[in-house]
Symmetry: C2
Subunit: 323 residues, 2 copies
């Protein structure tokens, strides 16, 4: 059975859903024609996941869809933007109806959950990879960026760190885990949750924000270089899950928390005086807030354990360097 | 030498250029923050080119860049939109500095030519493929779509048809060509020109439009199905280049003109009374206008040669069906 590109998109990715009013023309023409609401800027981000690079071969279609969506929505979260539209380029080695059904079922569950609409896309024959572009709305004056951190600000994260890279090692059978603990860690790697509501709650409150995709040190490093500041992290304050503690030792859990990628928690900075307000704003959307360190005037990210600075050679995860 | 994803985008795709005023925040943060001018809708389109599917292996980096850009800008042209921003996801098997330099040089020449700005992107390790999303502006009320054709309208195209698929056969050494003729045909396949100025000139004037990527019959078929009409094409009126006539016979040139993909000329419909106005609007931007048939009340696209209807089994080019 063969399908034209047009039919694949129409068949699997356009379903009965309440159409968004800001979509004047959706899928099925040369372009989508879209209207950004007055007073809002458009936040966009594009990310690609390649089988064997960003997810393991034989990852379920549902997990691939969940991860592709989370990775992209996480960028909107880091900007404090409200999700609106998505475009999808799917490269698949062959037309596997069951795979497409599973992928698109999960994809649609997430569209419904976030009120997103698919407005364009392309399917091509090729090695399995998924490129999404997400589009969201945020008033320009309250958009979160990487560049507003100031010396003295607190450094915070929205959830436990290191779970995803530990989950990858569990999936690769480099670490052993069983039952609920195993499932929790695998889900943290395969089905991360984008902190969309948290990002919106942080508008006008956080001084800078980023999502942790490449590891805390690397991503906090991006905040520091864009803000021309440094940072100090206290390892004792790093939030580490019970599951992570159970499948690995303290030293390894700490290294995963510092350098492991793919957690998709937000890392943000906030003036000390605003901390309580931020904490309660996050609490109101059911998201935790862990203070883990402080922004400094000096360059670079320093890690303190038991009062001493650690050497950190692993600056984070890089798809071109690490296999 | 290895490069992080961040550095690849920064190094090759962000260059000294006059920044667009509608870009509040460009590359280098989690999202770009963009402002659509008042009174304008946003037109977006995403297309992927995969080596071995959409272009031949060993196509030059410059040709790959030119084609990727043209294929995407052609969708904006078909909507009558003015190009503004582009995002780029580049999947490359390895970091080849010379290839990246050539690719990005051509890419930047085209950015400058169209006044486009790169506002986001991603580089990943994987088989060579390029996904672009283009973003343009058009007032909603004058955007061109596939759905406005009416019985009696004339069917027109903006340039010779079939050159690109003949060029592909020349590249594959299935057809022989020499000198300027060879170069012309190869360029028509590898470096098509998006009819951006023509699309803008057709605003409010054409009743429907599409770009010819999958072949005239398939793409005119999309206009017909979206407009609930049919069409009749007269083969004698098909614009066929001198080069095409020289390297193949009349019958084959006609088949390429009807079913060959990748020409990226616009096919549009226009009320008979508006034809002269459209012709001179296109002339003023240096683009030809060939009337090749007429919209009818019946479904389907019929092809007439010497007064008789041809059977057309080849409905056009489909990347999942045709190799």
């Amino acid at each position: 059975m063969s399908f034209s590109e047009f039919n694949l998109i129409e068949r699997f990715f356009v379903r009965e859903m309440p159409a968004r009013k800001d979509v004047a023309l959706g899928i099925g023409d040369d372009c989508a024609i879209l209207n950004v609401p007055e007073g809002q800027s458009l936040a966009v981000s594009m990310d690609t996941l390649v089988e064997g690079v960003h997810f393991l071969p034989n990852t379920s279609a549902s997990d691939v869809a969940a991860k592709a969506m989370a990775v992209n929505l996480s960028d909107l979260a880091a900007a404090g933007a409200e999700p609106a539209w998505v475009t999808l380029s799917l490269s698949i080695p062959k037309v596997d109806m069951a795979w497409l059904q599973d992928f698109s079922d999960t994809f649609h569950d997430l569209l419904s959950h976030y009120g997103l609409q698919v407005v364009g896309g392309d399917t091509t024959r090729g090695p399995l990879s998924i490129t999404l572009q997400v589009h969201g709305f945020v008033p320009e004056s309250v958009a979160l960026t990487r560049s507003g951190a100031e010396a003295g600000d607190l450094v915070c994260v929205t959830g436990p760190l290191g779970d995803a890279s530990i989950g990858l090692q569990v999936a690769q059978q480099k670490l052993k885990a069983e039952g609920d603990i195993k499932q929790y860690l695998l889900d943290r790697y395969n089905r991360p949750k984008a902190r969309v509501a948290a990002g919106i709650a942080l508008r006008s409150r956080a001084s800078a924000a980023i999502d942790i995709s490449d590891g805390l040190l690397a991503d906090l490093g991006h905040i520091c270089s864009r803000s021309s500041v440094g940072a100090v992290i206290n390892t004792e304050k790093l939030p580490i899950s019970e599951a992570a503690r159970k499948v690995t030792n303290e030293q390894s859990a700490m290294e995963h928390a510092l350098s492991g990628g793919d957690d998709y928690e937000l890392c943000f900075t906030v003036a000390e005086d605003d901390f309580r307000k931020v904490q309660s704003a996050l609490e109101s959307v059911g998201v935790a807030c862990y203070e883990i360190g402080r922004i400094t005037g000096k360059n670079g990210v320093r890690v303190i354990k038991d009062g001493e600075t650690l050497e950190n050679k692993k600056a984070g995860f890089d798809h071109f360097v690490v296999d």
